[in-house]
């Protein structure tokens, strides 16, 4: 998942009013009816939320209902890689907020003006308008620096703009203001508010690399949400069978459920990154107890599965929950690069995406094109489908078709363009002769990678590649594994800007630091996945300090 997507998914703005509660009660019928209606076909996990928000956008007329509907729709569409639709929703939210600003200022209602201004800022941030968003949120805080929610929206805006330290500072202000408010007049609503702001602070700190404080805060939030202070909200959620998760939550119960979901996911991800797999799995399972089709938790459990069977099932569940998560797709591609799976003949969208990925992994690119074209006709706005179809086209040598695919996510588009550029490359010159060693340039290694990806090497070139040892300056990534004293364990890195990895972590005699230029002599075994992208699979021969 891209940084932008993560920000959008995680950005937390929470709001409640009595109108929202009334709307939630109206929506209760749909909550009860929806599972039966959707039971006919496999649904994507966010279908229900999208349906609810579209209904809210169509029927509600007040500013905050309209705004939250479009912000949520944008966020939900973004999680499904429907960038163009998401952009349209954010633009609608921005227009609504700007109109509200104008109206409020005309009528000298500075409270409304401040509110509209801060939401205009958030919408502009989601549209990628950094300067406008910054100017607007600064304007809002002039009028409402005593309002914790304004600081929380400030923090969310900065997270969307990938400014984690600014976000953390604003979130600290929100927490400070909310703690004082709670001391003055304790209530469940204010406790919930405070936990929301602590969650915001934790996510910003995590982004900023301040993991210890972030983890402590998240543990505090999750523990707090499980106290009896929130019994009434839990009972209300159970009575109403509520399960919806929104980034802009309306109604205390929805805010509670959304916060519990997001804070647990964030905490579990931190445990996972810290190597505490058991605790991470426990928390991901906790997420699934309140939302059994949570796509993020299911994807994580697939990633962390102990057995092949468990992993296969978890991947199936995760793809059914959100077939279009690029993070999940990369995880699955990585798994497929090292494991063979039985062909699946499921009919859900998740099964179809998995089938396409499996076909691509097996080199059945023509079958994959058929699978992906069928998906593209049903999801023409989906960037991930376009991206997969384009990469499959490149594998088929069809650059024209690949260029025609619609991809709006910049990272994905750049990756396709890069592959297209590499696809025209011939095999590098050092495979032409009978040399047994060479010092390739970065461009030659990229040509080699492209040729291997497209299986364009001739049998003679394959023989030459088996014979030749190459020497390059390598920069290694830090390895999670520790070696014995006097040894360095290394597994992956880059040579001349080309990603590589070994088949497993290798222990080298001597002390070699990561991120330091080292002289590596190696053989090329093939292509592998390194950090979600293609790289060279190498067999190390010798590692020395750079001369």
């Amino acid at each position: 998942m891209s940084k932008r997507m993560q920000c959008a998914v995680r950005s937390g703005q929470w709001a409640v009013n009595d109108r929202a509660l009334r709307a939630a009660r109206c929506a209760l019928l749909l909550v009860l009816l929806a599972p039966a209606a959707f039971a006919q076909t496999t649904r994507i996990a966010s279908d229900f939320e999208i349906q609810q928000m579209e209904k809210q956008a169509a029927s509600a007329h007040d500013f905050l209902s309209q705004l939250s509907a479009h912000l949520n729709l944008g966020d939900l569409r973004l999680t499904r890689s429907e960038t163009t639709v998401a952009h349209t929703e954010y633009q609608k939210a921005a227009d609504i907020a700007q109109r509200e600003r104008t109206d409020a200022r005309t009528s000298s209602d500075l409270a409304r003006y401040a509110t509209a201004t801060m939401y205009a800022s958030l919408a502009e941030a989601k549209l990628g308008e950094e300067r406008q968003a910054f100017a607007l949120i600064e304007e809002a805080t002039r009028y409402a620096s005593d309002d914790a929610k304004t600081w929380n929206v400030y923090a969310s805006t900065m997270r969307v703009l990938q400014q984690p330290r600014k976000a953390a500072s604003a979130a600290r202000n929100a927490v400070t203001v909310a703690e004082a408010e709670l001391r003055r007049s304790p209530s469940t609503a204010k406790r919930l508010d405070l936990d929301i702001y602590r969650y915001s602070l934790a996510t910003a700190l995590d982004d900023a690399g301040e993991r210890d404080e972030a983890q402590r805060l998240l543990e505090t939030v999750v523990a707090s949400l499980r106290t009896q202070d929130f019994d009434a909200l839990r009972k209300d959620a159970a009575r109403r069978e509520s399960f919806e998760i929104y980034s802009t939550a309306r109604g205390e119960t929805t805010a509670y459920l959304s916060l519990l979901n997001r804070s647990q996911l964030q905490l579990a991800a931190m445990y996972e990154r810290g190597g505490n797999v058991a605790r991470a799995r426990d928390v991901y399972h906790d997420v699934l107890t309140s939302r059994s089709d949570d796509a993020t938790a299911l994807a994580a459990l697939a990633r962390l599965a102990g057995s092949g069977a468990e992993r296969t099932q978890s991947y199936a569940d995760a793809f059914d929950a959100n077939p279009f998560s690029i993070g999940l797709i990369r995880d699955y591609q990585s798994w497929l690069s090292q494991h063979r799976v039985d062909p699946n003949d499921g009919a859900s969208d998740g099964s179809i995406i998995r089938r396409a990925l499996e076909q691509m992994a097996r080199g059945e690119n023509r079958a994959a094109r058929s699978t992906l074209d069928a998906l593209a006709s049903r999801f023409p706005e989906n960037d991930v489908v376009g991206y997969l179809a384009a990469t499959n086209d490149i594998a088929l040598g069809d650059a024209v078709r690949a260029r025609s695919r619609s991809i709006h996510v910049e990272t994905l588009r750049r990756e396709v363009e890069s592959r297209l550029a590499s696809s025209v490359a011939a095999a590098p010159a050092f495979l032409d002769g009978t040399a047994t060693s060479a010092t390739p340039s970065g461009a030659e290694l990229r040509h080699l990678l492209a040729a291997l990806q497209q299986q364009r090497l001739t049998p003679e070139e394959h023989l030459a590649l088996d014979r030749i040892t190459l020497t390059s300056t390598a920069m290694f990534d830090a390895s999670a594994a520790a070696g014995k004293p006097g040894q360095s364990v290394l597994e992956s890195g880059t040579v001349e800007g080309v990603a590589f990895r070994f088949s497993e972590p290798m222990a080298f005699a001597g002390t070699f630091a990561a991120a330091t230029p080292l002289r590596l002599t190696y053989r090329v075994l093939g292509v592998t996945e390194v950090g979600g992208a293609d790289g060279l699979l190498l067999e190390p021969v010798k590692l020395e300090a750079e001369r």
Partner: protein
């Protein structure tokens, strides 16, 4: 009681409705009156407001004189201004050097213009998003609060140095050749010497305003609610004084600190010598910005101009008087705060939220529409529209603003 609630939070609004309190307060009618900043004045002001609210009130000032109460919507100019309200304005900054020349930062460059506003003296590399422009005797600094960068340029030659700063540099000041940067989200004040040597001190939460008086630096931290006086040699927090938090502006004359609070409509004072509160007064409907309109003398209090976008006015009030000043002006008058400057408020076509006064030039600005006004006791005129926030400055030679890629200057004495 809160007079001004932020309707941004639905949760917040719900709590208010549950208590039968309106989520937002209707704008207060404009109340032209003199005011001195004293505790007792608070009650008087409240009484006066309630009395005046029941009757039509006259408005002084040229444009405002033709209207009563709230500005009628639908006039052609107003429609034009509001239609342009949502236009994004690129970040541009203008400042005046002590020598009276104008510095402009825009589009990744910095330019210095002569005091006539026409002759460009030099052009140099700037920052991507220019925020505050700080002018010293021999250098200027342009700050980028998004990218955390500063460019320091020599005023004489334009030779510039780019540097990284702490998180969110929002203001700065030159003292004795050293540049002091207020880095809000780092909660720090950093000192950068001409030779590049750097030092930093920690500040309280949300340090939002930096002011300099007589080579002394004062920082007001909005969320913490403190004023910190910073000594420059040695570089340290000399003392910390409690103040009301959440002000939208802060000014000081070195003796008294003034903060303005839009939520409850108060201006509050702190005696910096004693560190004690020195009174407060309610002013206008939603006062947002402060400026000294007159520095005061041995016999008179300083004058404060207060921008109030809700009332579409700039109020002029007296600041705190010393006992000696009060005595000299008549003990009774000083004690109860009856000033000599009644009726000096002005009404604008749109709600102004910034006010800058230098000598004979008084400027007000509406951030939402980008409208720049020049005003006096007798007259209000629109100078330009739209002008980006920060893209205007007032100096001894006059006012200048940056509009459509051009610096426009108007002399102080037209």
């Amino acid at each position: 009681m809160n007079r001004y609630r932020n309707a941004g939070s639905l949760r917040h609004e719900e709590a208010l409705l549950a208590r039968g309190v309106r989520a937002s307060r209707p704008p207060q009618p404009a109340v032209p009156r003199p005011a001195a900043l004293r505790d007792r004045e608070c009650d008087r002001a409240r009484d006066a407001r309630s009395r005046r609210a029941r009757r039509p009130h006259s408005v002084s000032g040229g444009a405002g004189r033709r209207r009563t109460g709230r500005l009628a919507a639908g006039t052609p100019l107003l429609v034009l201004l509001l239609a342009l309200m949502a236009l994004p304005l690129a970040a541009q900054s203008v400042a005046v050097t002590p020598q009276g020349s104008f510095v402009v930062a825009h589009d990744g460059i910095v330019e210095l213009f002569a005091s006539n506003g026409h002759d460009r003296l030099w052009r140099s590399d700037g920052v991507e998003y220019p925020g505050a422009l700080v002018a010293g005797e021999s250098s200027i600094a342009v700050l980028d609060p998004i990218a955390n960068r500063a460019v320091v340029a020599d005023i004489r030659t334009g030779a510039s140095t780019s540097m990284r700063t702490g998180e969110t540099p929002i203001d700065g000041a030159f003292v004795g050749g050293d540049l002091y940067l207020l880095e809000r989200d780092a909660r720090a004040l950093e000192r950068i010497a001409p030779d590049g040597t750097r030092a930093s001190i920690s500040l309280a939460a949300d340090p939002a305003f930096l002011r300099i008086r007589d080579a002394r630096l004062f920082v007001y931290s909005r969320v913490a609610g403190v004023i910190q006086e910073i000594a420059t040699a040695p570089f340290r927090v000399a003392r910390t004084v409690a103040a009301e938090p959440f002000a939208s502006d802060f000014e000081t004359d070195g003796r008294t600190a003034y903060t303005v609070h839009p939520r409850d409509g108060f201006i509050r004072m702190v005696d910096l010598a004693t560190g004690k509160p020195a009174g407060h007064v309610r002013i206008g409907a939603v006062p947002v910005d402060l400026a000294f309109a007159g520095s005061g003398t041995a016999l008179s209090a300083p004058m404060l101009a207060v921008a109030d976008p809700s009332a579409k006015r700039v109020w002029v009030v007296e600041g705190k008087q010393s006992v000696m000043q009060a005595f000299a002006r008549g003990f009774l008058r000083g004690l109860i705060g009856l000033g000599l400057f009644g009726g000096r408020e002005s009404k604008f076509r749109t709600g102004v939220d910034r006010v800058v006064i230098r000598g004979p030039v008084s400027i007000a600005y509406d951030s939402s529409s980008g409208t720049l006004y020049r005003f006096s006791k007798e007259k209000i005129e629109v100078l330009a529209h739209p002008v980006a926030p920060g893209a205007f400055a007032v100096g001894p030679s006059g006012v200048a603003w940056w509009q459509d890629g051009t610096l426009v200057a108007q002399k102080a004495n037209r």
